[in-house]
Symmetry: T
Subunit: 68 residues, 12 copies
C-alpha cells in the first residue's frame, strides 16, 4: 500500500430485496466507470415505504479506489 | 411535495431472522395506526445473544408519514 | 439486572455472504472464550471489493457480557 | 419551569421559498393539534432540485411542548 | 422479545434537586398515558441558572415502550 | 426509484445575501455539468466577516444525481 | 496566514425575522469588543414559539478572530 | 429574548461527591466574574479514580450568559 | 506521564439508586482484576423502567489504566 | 470569494514516514488532475501495522478546489 | 484536583512545518495571557494549499487552564 | 480475509516528541502481549502543557488484531 492515493465516491444504491443487494448494485454501477475499487463503507440505510411495506432499500455508501 | 408536513416516529423492530425483517415488522406495525408512511431511516442495529448465537435482531428506525 | 457489571468487546466479523453472517461469525468467535454474552451493537458496516463485486462483508460490532 | 415535563415531536416542513418558511409551516401544522409549543430545534436542512433549481426546502426539526 | 415492536418518545424532565429526579419525573409523567415503558436513554443534560446557582436540572431523554 | 444508483457531490456555495442563495448558486453550478440532480443536503453553514459584518455566506452541501 | 493564532468565541444571536439576521446580530455584538473577526460557523439553529408561530430565531455560532 | 446576544463559556467543574456538585461548583465559579448566567449544558462527564474508587467527578459544561 | 501507555475498557455499571453509584460499581468491579485505574469517562446513561418508575440506572463508561 | 463555488474530493493518502507526508502525497496527487486546490481537512488518521510497528500512515482527507 | 474549576479556550494555530508546530504555536500564544494551562485537545486538522502543496497546517484545539 | 474475526483494543500512547511517536509507543506496547496486529485508528489527540509548552503528546487509538 506504500504511497498509493485512494479516492472515495459517495453513492446511493437501491434494491427491492435487501440491504446487501442495494450495496452490490451501487458497487457494480461504480465499477462500470472506475477501476481498482478496493472497499466500501456504509454511511446510511434507509428506504421507501408503499402500502405499509418496504418498497425499496436505499443504502448510502462510500466506495474507495486507487488512483493510478 | 409542495408544502406538506411530515412526522417521524422512532420505533424498534425485532426479528429472529434478519435486519430487513426487523425493519419490515416495525413498518408493518406502524402502518396499523398511521396512514401515508413514505420512508424510514435506520438509526441503530443491535440484538440479543443467547448461547453464543444471535437470538433476535433489533433495529431502531424512524418512519416518516405525511400529516393530513 | 440489579448491580451486575457488563463488559463490551469491540470486534470485526467478516463473511462472504451477508451482514447478518458477519455478525454471527464474530459473536460465535467471542463465545469461544467469553461466557454470558447478552447483546451486540453494530458500530460500522464495510467490506472488500474484488472485480467490481463485494468479496467480503465486514461488520464492526460491540458484544456485551456479564462479568462474574 | 419547576417540574414541568416537555415532549418533542420530530417533523419535516417544506416550502418553495425559504428555510424559515419551511420551519414556520411545520410549527403551524403542529400547533393545529398540540397546545403549548415552546421551542424548536433544526435537525437537518435539505431539499428537492428540479431543472437545476431548488424546488422545495425541506427542514427536519423538533418541536417541544409542555405536557399538561 | 421475539417480534415485538417498541416506540420511543423524546421528553424533557426537570427537577430542582437532581438529574435522577428529572429523569424520574419524565418517566412518571409518560407512564400516566403510556403502558409498558421498558427503558430510557439520556440524550442531553442541561439546566437553568438563577443568581449564580442551578435552579432546575433539565434532562432530555427517550423512553421506550412496547406497542400492543 | 427501483434499482437506480445515485452519486453525491460535496460542494461549497457562497453568496453575499443569504443561506438560500448560497445553496442555489452551488446547485446551479453543479447543474452546468451534471444532469438529473434530485436533491441536496446542507452539511455546514459558515461565512466570512469583514468590518464586523457578514460579507459572504458559505454553505457546504451535498447534491445527489442519478447515474445514467 | 503564516503563523497567526486565532481564537473562537461561541455566541447565540437571536432575531424576530430570520436566521441570517440572528447571525448578523451576534457578529455585530462581538465586533463591539473584539477586532479582526474573520469568520463564523453555525453550530445550531433553534427558536422560540409563541401562539403557534416562530417568535425568535436563535442561532448558536462560533466567531473566529486573529489574536494580536 | 428579542435581539439579545449570549456568550457561552466552556468549563470543567470537579467535586468529590457528585455530578450535580461538580456542575454547581463550575457555575458558582463562573458567577464570580460573569453576570446574567442563564443556562448550562453538560458536554462530558468523567473523573479520577484512586485505589479503585471514584476520587473526583469532573464535568465539562458550557454556561451561557447574556451580553450587556 | 512520560511514555506510559494506557488501556481503556468499556463497561456498563448498574445501580438501583443513582448514576454515581452505577459508575462506582463498575469501577470497583474493574479494580478487582486490573491495577492502576486512573480515570473514567461516561459514554451513555440509560436505565430500566418497571411500573412507571426507574428500576435500575445503567451507565456505560470507559475506564483507563496504565499498562505495566 | 464572492459567488465562487468549490468542490470537495475525499482522498486517502499514505506514507511510511508521517501524517504530514501522507497528507502531502494526497494533495500532490490531486493536483495532477485538478487546479485551484485551496484547502484540505483531515477526516481520519489510521494506518497499517507490520511486526509490531507502524508500516504506513493513512490519512483520509477532503481537498477543496474552486470550480471554474 | 479537588474542587478546582478549569476553563477551555478554543484556538486555531498555524504553521508552515507540521501539525505539532501549529499546536505549539497556539499553546505558546495562549500562555502569553493565561496562566496555568494544563492540557489541550485537538478538535480539527486542516490547512491551506498553494501550487499543489500544503502551505500551512491549521489545527483547531482547545486549551484548558485552572481558574484561580 | 475470508471469515476471520478481529478484535480492537483502545489504548492511549504518549510521547514527548510527536503524535507519530505516541502512536508507535502504543502499538509497540500492545505488540508485547498481542500477535497479529494489523491496523490502528486514531480516536483523539491531546496532550499535557507545562510552562506554556507541550510536555507530552497523548494519542488515543484503537489497534486491531486477528483472533486465532
Amino acid at each position: 500500500m506504500s504511497d498509493h492515493v485512494y479516492k472515495m465516491l459517495e453513492l446511493t444504491g437501491s434494491s427491492k430485496t435487501s440491504i446487501e443487494d442495494a450495496v452490490s448494485n451501487a458497487v457494480a454501477k461504480a465499477a462500470e466507470s472506475v477501476r481498482n475499487i478496493h472497499w466500501f463503507e456504509v454511511v446510511e440505510t434507509r428506504g421507501h415505504v408503499e402500502d405499509g411495506k418496504v418498497a425499496h432499500w436505499q443504502v448510502v455508501l462510500k466506495v474507495g479506489f486507487r488512483l493510478e
